[in-house]
Amino acid sequence: MRFVSVKAVAFGALSGQELQLAPRLNVVYGPNESGKSTWHDALYAGLCGMRRGAGRTRKEDEEFRSRRQPWGSEEFAATVRIELADRRSMEVRQDLAGRVDCKVTDVVLGRDHTDEVVFDGSPDGSRFVGLDRGAFRSTACVRQAELLEVLNERDRLQEHLQRAADTAGRDSTAAGALERIEEYKREHVGTDRLNSTKPLRAAMNRLADTERALDEATAKHQDLLRLRVRADEQEAVANRARAAWNVVRFALARDKAVRERASLDRARDLAAQVPEGGPIPVSQEDSLAVRVATAVQAWENRPDPAELGGPTAEELQKRLEALPAEPAGDLEPHPAVVAARREYDGARDELERLQVPLAPAGGRRAGRSPLSAVALAVALGLIGMAAMTPSWRPATITGGVGALVLAIWLFLRSSRPGPGTTAGNGRDQDVLSRVKASRLRLSEALVSRGMPGGVDVGGAFEEYREQCAKRHGQAERSQRREDLLSQLPVRRRAEQKRADDVDRRQAAEKELRDVARACGITSTDDGDLVVERLRGWQAARRGRVEQASKQRSAVDELKGLLEGRTLEAFEEEVENLETEAKRLSDELSSDGPAIPDGADLHAEENVRHEEWVTAQRDAGKLRTQVAERSRDAVSVPDAEEDVERAKAELSRVRGLERVLDSAARHLREAEDRVHRDIAPRLASALRARLPDVTGGRYIDAIVDPATLDVTVQEAGGDRRPATGLSHGTTEMVYLFLRVALVEHLTKAGEVCPLLLDDVTVQCDRERTARILDVLRELAKERQIILFSQEDEVLAWARENLDPEQGDRLHELTPVPVGSR
């Protein structure tokens, strides 16, 4: 391909101007502000246009537009005419403002070839040579700045080569792309090391976490399902326990209802027995009843006063007062005295039998004959007998008997022989002694009985005996006092009792009549009739008391039955009990447990109730657990979706890793292959031209296919890296490499023109000439359009360019200021 012409339709300061271009070397000379760069850009823009893709406008495009769009005009266009290797002639019109009115037309055939070369939304004429506008700008357009860059930083040569080789000169190299991929992978994938914080490990962790969460959610779900089943089963157990309890409850309720119904009926009966107002009040008659009973009893037990005979107490008192006092001394001869007398008499009798005169002390005795004794005894006996008459008192009888006994004794004694008559003298003396001694003892005994002592003991004795008899009589009279004294209180008590009986009898009669009046009984004179009527009253009252007692019992029983309730309330309760019993009966299922026979229902009820409570409590616990676990339950679908998202994220990251790895691998392989392909070409291009432009100093070049490092070989065999050559040689090497790259990048069968902008500005005259010579040689193979402001170039062009050989010099004149 070569440029035939370029028309700046509306481009920078140019408007409608056209530049005809020769097929080989074109030198476009012009001083500053002559539009030289404008024509350079117009050529580029006229051929390649500007991208019309979506998205942001690229910075370089923006800058280009800003630099080249005419001021104050909406039109921004350039047209080039090109001739392709296949001899086709194309006109490329670029509407650089709207990028709509762009067209590529076969000049000869008039055919539209726009679609053939559209790139990034607009026609790109560089596509005819297998490039695109980016590649064309990067390879076919050589700017002064690039050359300066290579000269100033020699290692940039390699980068330029790589960029051209890798991306046709775009911004990046394959190495940069690989580094970018690796960096992206480090940040957006990372490794699967446990301590990594990058997405791959995070996604793996997230998946593990979500899978754990899903396992937990599923386990909780299953656990909850099982727990619900257990809760349901326990609920069934509780229901069965309740049914069993209900059976007993029903039995109890039924029994209780029956009992209470009976109690209610009884209460109703009792209530009917008690008159309104309560039981008959009989308590107020209690005191009267007591009086009646007492009066009747008193009447019936009233005393019957006895009639008293004999002397009255007053009479007895008078008799008592008339009795003598009780005598002092012996009433009967004291036995001791009697014994002493008998001893004395005995001693005397014995003495008499002995005929011993007696001392005077015993004279009376000695002179007495048995006859006198008999006479005395008879006398005494008679007295005694007389005393024994029926009118005598016992004392009189006693006296009589005594006198009789004495008379008998005296007779017998007088008939016995005396002591002196039958015994000798010795014996007489003893008898006398005994007579004396006995007389003494008799005397002493009489003295001891209050009698005066003396010689006449016989007389004393008789006197003593008479006194005793006298006192005996007095004593017998005084003995009547005791009898009277004993009779007197008895008589008095009897008299008092009788008086009391009379009083009580009178009181009983009076009370009887008073009570009868109190009882409403008309009094009569007949006490027994009153009593009979009072007994009738008592009987009537007992009837009333009995009735009242029955009523009180009924009331008490009723109270016990009602227990503080009213009859209506009791009835309501009974109805409720019956209702409850029926309800419980209704709840009983036909296949439920039977009422236990003979069981203690209350005990059974307690047991079954406890069983139900326990079962219900257990069921309640399980229900609570179900509720709690339901609250804690995690949504299984949510957890599953979390896992799916985590899987998707891990898959994404793994996919990214796979894609990045694949991209890197393919890039490396492409890089290797392309570099291997291009390296020999670059080396060959250098090898063919380097000796000429270096005057034979460098004869060969080597390009490392891995790095595109360029090494040149001196004629002496030494190798030097291209980065270590002189500026001039470096410029040459660079230009040749660019040409080689253009050749390499251009599609087969085509040649790509070169646009060089002030590439010799840093060269001295000699180097400039040498470069221009090389360019003229290169222009034999491809069109070269060199823009320059250097006079040396102008001079060289005027001298060396041959229009007939396809060269041309374009001399520009400065564009008037303000024309843009």
């Binding site: 970018r180 992206y184 089943v229 894609v659 393919h666 492409a670």
Partner: protein, 364 residues
């Protein structure tokens, strides 16, 4: 006699690959559909509601769903409800059906064989339950109705002849053949399992009443059924879906900026309600600064999901001709048979972006 048939609601199902709020919103809508069915049953004064199974998913149902189903079905009283558990809501001790407290008007078939229930005088409904999540044999094998009158069946099973049209993923649970229905003496079978609705001569698949995935345009309905004296049925489909689940592709090719993409998406969603998945397709110009999170759904959209399958407008044919590493790269990648098409696309775009000096190397 008028019946309302539905099946395959799949309460508490899972929606993989969606954002959490989308899945939850969808599950909520499934519940609303059941409510719609109940409302329809009341409005139409049907005699009974028949559920052909897969009302919920056993492995996932929540306590909340248990109470919801319990209440909704109980609220239908006195309308009778017959449920034939399917392979997803298979009947076991831990089933929702076992744990819910249904009124006497709700009848859940218990046995893995058809058992009769009197629908009306001379009308018998035979129903069966899946008792396991898999391995349930045909309910119609060796089955023969007993007694006179009209006989209908309700169960969850796969009519073999219709299986291919249900898609690759459909498992043939309790498989049978259409001719088994007539051979068994049944006048008609009300069925669940197939999500694509089907009204056969002697069978009715209502289909899933609510879409269960994006683009499920062929989902089913609730079916009003009127029985004729000769055992034939007249069917009327009633739309009960809460909303559609749209799967919309938006071509972003040629868009010049992100706002234009949003405008295209907004245009595609205009008038659309329900659950929507938008897939961006086409070649996205490399320079467009667009991110999925920039797209916001209209208010009418219940749930919204976005994915991008956009390419980038690289002229790969042209690049491949370049004598550069870039060209070689494209050529090599395009020729790499080990790559899937999607991976190839991603490798190409990612590699080219890297060569372009870009940092957005991940291709969605």
């Amino acid at each position: 006699m008028k019946l309302l048939l539905f099946s395959d609601l799949h309460l508490d199902t899972t929606f993989a690959g969606l954002e959490p709020h989308v899945g939850r919103a969808w599950r909520i809508r499934l519940r609303e559909v059941l409510q719609n069915i109940v409302n329809l049953a009341r409005e139409e004064s049907v005699d009974a509601v028949l559920c052909g199974g897969d009302l919920y998913e056993h492995d996932r149902f929540s306590a909340d769903t248990l109470r919801f189903v319990e209440r909704v079905l109980n609220d239908l009283a006195p309308i009778r409800v017959f449920v034939a558990p399917g392979n997803h809501d298979w009947l076991g001790p831990q089933s929702l059906y076992e744990q819910a407290s249904f009124g006497g008007h709700v009848h859940v078939f218990q046995e893995a064989r058809l058992r009769p229930v009197a629908l009306d005088e001379g009308v018998t409904l035979w129903g069966a339950a899946h008792r396991a999540p898999a391995g349930t044999d045909s309910f119609l094998a060796d089955f023969r109705v007993e007694g006179a009158g009209l006989h209908f069946a309700l169960f969850h099973g796969s009519e073999r002849g219709l299986l291919p049209e249900q898609g690759d993923r459909k498992e043939p649970h309790a498989p049978f053949r259409a001719e088994d229905i007539e051979r068994s003496g049944l006048h008609h079978a009300f069925l669940g399992h197939y999500h694509r609705p089907r009204d056969g001569e002697r069978l009715t698949y209502p289909g899933n009443p609510e879409p269960l995935r994006f683009g499920d345009d062929a989902h089913g309905d609730a079916v009003l059924i009127e029985m004729a004296a000769d055992g034939s049925v007249r069917r009327g489909r009633r739309h009960v879906a809460r909303a559609e689940a749209h799967d919309i592709e938006v071509d972003v090719s040629g868009a010049t900026h992100s706002t234009e993409i949003r405008q295209r998406v907004d245009g595609a969603l205009d008038g659309v309600a329900g659950v929507v998945r938008v897939t961006l397709v086409g070649d996205l110009e490399p320079g467009i600064d667009f991110r999925l999170e920039d797209l916001k759904p209209p208010e009418a959209i219940d749930a919204f999901s976005m994915i991008s399958r956009c390419g980038v407008a690289y002229d790969l044919d042209a690049i491949e001709k370049e004598q550069t590493v870039r060209g070689q790269f494209v050529k090599d990648v395009r020729a790499d048979a080990s790559l899937s098409d999607d991976d190839r696309r991603r490798v190409l775009i990612g590699g080219l972006r890297a060569l372009d000096g870009r940092d957005d190397l991940e291709v969605t």
